[in-house]
């Protein structure tokens, strides 16, 4: 058997390991452009600030390929010839034949639509090459954590439209490091970049198109609370402001011009307006993709429209619990999908099931946990909300349908999502949950418990 995997992110790597555990003789080839070793994309910000070395972010020892006997090709795939069962490569390399193919090519940043975005000083924060670019803009290069992995070793085997290319560096044109910065797009990656800029001594402008920060995850109360925290750290938060273009001087940007005509000074601008499935290179291949976005359509066994081709991770549109079909851009779901895809490839009758929604994040120094349904705009839902001040600063929001709890949105404290999810599945009532909330606490030892004032507890029985 010849297995070929495109992508050595979490989905591709976990699939390869799962394949090897059962198929000790199969030939397993991993084609991936971005970097030599599997690293944790979620940890890019820590490498940038110098909190972690690149090696720290690699989940396995570097001898993985040798130990598992994987063939490793660092080049860009240009298409899949499904009839001839082979993958075409850039740079004049021979096509790679396969019996079964797994596509785990992840996401690419959504490009900036504004004039000037191709100039030096504008970039994204998704790939290893983006990291390299931003390290040069903010710090003049990598940290002292030993030799950095090569960001451009694959250039001869890539193509100009690849997201895995280092952007032009304004700091090098200008002859000095960035002193001002802007982050455009108020999501999770955006706030991560804001934090790394603060760590580099820059108080960035944070431009958010919506009425409040991160509207897909937190509501206005929570967001106002977050914005306060950000301002305490020196971030210039701009809500409901859109970009018109970048102001450019001698090939490098100097400011971001907003539609209302203000120039916000920025030596570097990081555009974090979301990610798209990284599948343009499949345009001419006969593998079905979604009209909008272009994610690869897969069935519950993660098989694509071609029976010998599978897809997993950020690039695959899987079915969600509510019947929607779209990619899950998450680390742990990518890992699970990679493992399920591997079993499916080996012929097991498996289904990938989107069972529950939960996530956690850290927004500057605030920890965030969510579980269940916290979407907004459902008429039949209401929220029980508690803000805590004192030695612990937190907010607790429990979303209910009538008396039944359907979701949790928590900032500032640690919670065990497994317990929260169980309560939701057991259809517990709000007052039942409030009486036992402490059982789901996951704070470190000695952190004072969350105290629920009496009048708040009384609200549990009367819908707001």
């Amino acid at each position: 058997m010849k297995f070929v995997i495109i992508g050595n992110g979490v989905a591709g790597t976990e699939a390869a390991i799962a394949l090897r555990h059962r198929e000790s003789d199969a030939q397993i080839t991993i084609i991936s452009e971005e970097s030599d070793h599997f690293f944790s994309r979620t940890a890019l910000m820590y490498i940038l600030s110098g909190q972690l070395s690149h090696r720290d972010t690699e989940p396995y020892e570097r001898d993985l390929y040798a130990r598992m006997n994987f063939v490793r090709v660092r080049a860009r795939a240009l298409g899949v010839d499904t009839k001839g069962h082979q993958v075409r490569l850039a740079g004049g390399l021979d096509p790679v034949p396969y019996d079964r193919l797994l596509i785990a090519c992840g996401s690419r940043p959504r490009p900036a639509p504004w004039p000037g975005s191709d100039q030096a000083g504008v970039g994204h924060f998704v790939t290893h090459q983006d990291l390299t670019w931003l390290e040069r803009e903010l710090h003049g290069g990598v940290s002292k954590a030993g030799p950095a992995p090569q960001a451009d070793a694959h250039l001869a085997y890539s193509s100009p439209d690849s997201p895995y290319r280092v952007r032009p560096v304004a700091a090098e044109l200008r002859g000095r490091l960035a002193r001002t910065g802007a982050v455009i797009g108020g999501g999770l990656i955006g706030i991560e970049v804001v934090e790394t800029m603060l760590a580099a001594g820059i108080s960035p402008h944070f431009l958010i198109r919506e009425r409040w920060f991160w509207p897909v995850a937190i509501n206005q109360d929570e967001s106002t609370w977050m914005a306060q925290r950000m301002r305490e750290h020196g971030v210039h938060v701009h809500l409901q402001r859109e970009v018109e273009r970048f102001v450019v001087q001698d090939g490098a940007i100097t400011a971001v011009r907003t539609v209302d005509g203000e120039d916000l000074p920025a030596d570097v601008a990081v555009v974090t307006i979301g990610v798209l499935p990284n599948t343009d290179w499949l345009a001419e291949s006969e593998i079905q993709r979604q009209q909008r976005g272009g994610a690869i359509v897969v069935g519950p066994d993660l098989r694509t429209s071609d029976p010998d081709v599978f897809a997993a991770g950020d690039c695959a549109a899987v079915e969600w619990f509510n019947g929607m079909r779209r990619p899950e851009q998450l680390w742990y779901t990518g890992r699970d999908q990679g493992r399920v895809a591997a079993r499916s490839i080996m012929g097991d009758d498996v289904r990938y099931k989107r069972s529950h929604w939960y996530n956690s994040a850290k927004l500057m120094d605030i920890e965030y946990t969510t579980a269940g349904l916290v979407d907004f705009g459902f008429d039949d839902m209401w929220s029980w909300f508690l803000e805590e001040t004192g030695t612990v600063r937190s907010t607790t929001r429990i979303v209910c349908r009538g008396q039944r709890v359907v979701g949790f949105n928590m900032l500032g404290r640690r919670w065990d999502h497994r317990v929260l999810i169980r309560w939701i599945a057991e259809r517990r009532s709000l007052s039942w949950v409030l009486d036992r909330l402490q059982q789901a606490a996951f704070d470190t030892e000695f952190v004072p418990r969350l105290r629920i004032p009496d009048e708040k507890r009384r609200q549990a029985t009367q819908p707001a």
Binding site: S40, S49, G50, D56, K144, A199, A361, E445, F446
Partner: protein, 360 residues
Amino acid sequence: MYAQGQNGLMSTWREHIRSRGLAAWILAAVMMGFYVDLYWFDHLEPLAQALGLRNRWFLYGGLYCVLMVVGGALYLRRHGNSRYNQIRISVNVLVQVLLAFTLPYVMPLLGGKEFYFSYFWPLKYDLLLPDTLSKLPLYLSIYALVGSLIAAPILAFFFGKRWYCSWICGCGALANTFGDPWRHLTSKSTRSWRFEQVSIYLVVALVIFMTAVAGLGGLVGDAHPGFVSFAGQTKHVYGFVVGSILSGVIGTGLYPLLGPRVWCRNFCPMAGLLGLTQKLGRFRIRVKDDMCISCGNCSAYCEMGIDVRSYAQSNLDFTRAACVGCGMCAHVCPRGVLRLENRWDLNADKDKQHLVVLDF
């Protein structure tokens, strides 16, 4: 100071002194030189006397206290620390300042004996020798015996070895305060783990052998002068190699290059024995299932070189003999995946069921 705040990002690898730059090498050389001078020369005596201290060991003790207090304050500021670490580090520093410096200084002035309440066998390797015990007042010899042989293992069984290594011990106190900036330098390689497993239990065996031989030497007395001198030499060699070179010159001197727990991880016999008790006991680190993003912060900042991430990303609760319960893996984890705990209810795990399907 908040009870649960992590600070923003650290710039660890962008600081020369924390990333094995020239400054780190110079500091390491100075510190090793200091220990050599302290142990085998008496250049520091005049300075000690000038400061009104009894001898150079109290000068060292005073310096130790200053480094712990200043380092401890910086440690809390650096990490914006959790309540656990605020309490832990304060207790540890306080215990050291009181029991390892002030009390031993004051006791002789009041006509008592200089005694260190915070040290037990086998870390203080000669504490249980007949020679030592017989010179102590009865209550102190009982304290030494009960503390070393009964209380320490029982506490480690219920709370993990952290009760000593991260709450009481002087080596731990210095490592977690003054030594904290270098905690990420502890090697996480499989090779270093193998080395540790051999070296630490070797020292445990040595200290037991040495205690037995020297103890016997004390008992047989003058009847077998050959054996007595052999026992004396064993103790002397152990003291030189383990007590001075490994714990001082190398253990502390190499902070800026190899991390602050070289001694605790590889050579301390107390840590070795308490670690075995911990393995059998109630302390563990609990992992929240399917929440780890494999970022590597926990492993990087584990001063004992434990690859915490390998457990976290596989949803495995764990207890490692080496773990000193410093709490930093849990603290730096950006997804709150880890929790240190002492299990009281052993049935609590039974409901660690897998996540259930939601239906709306």
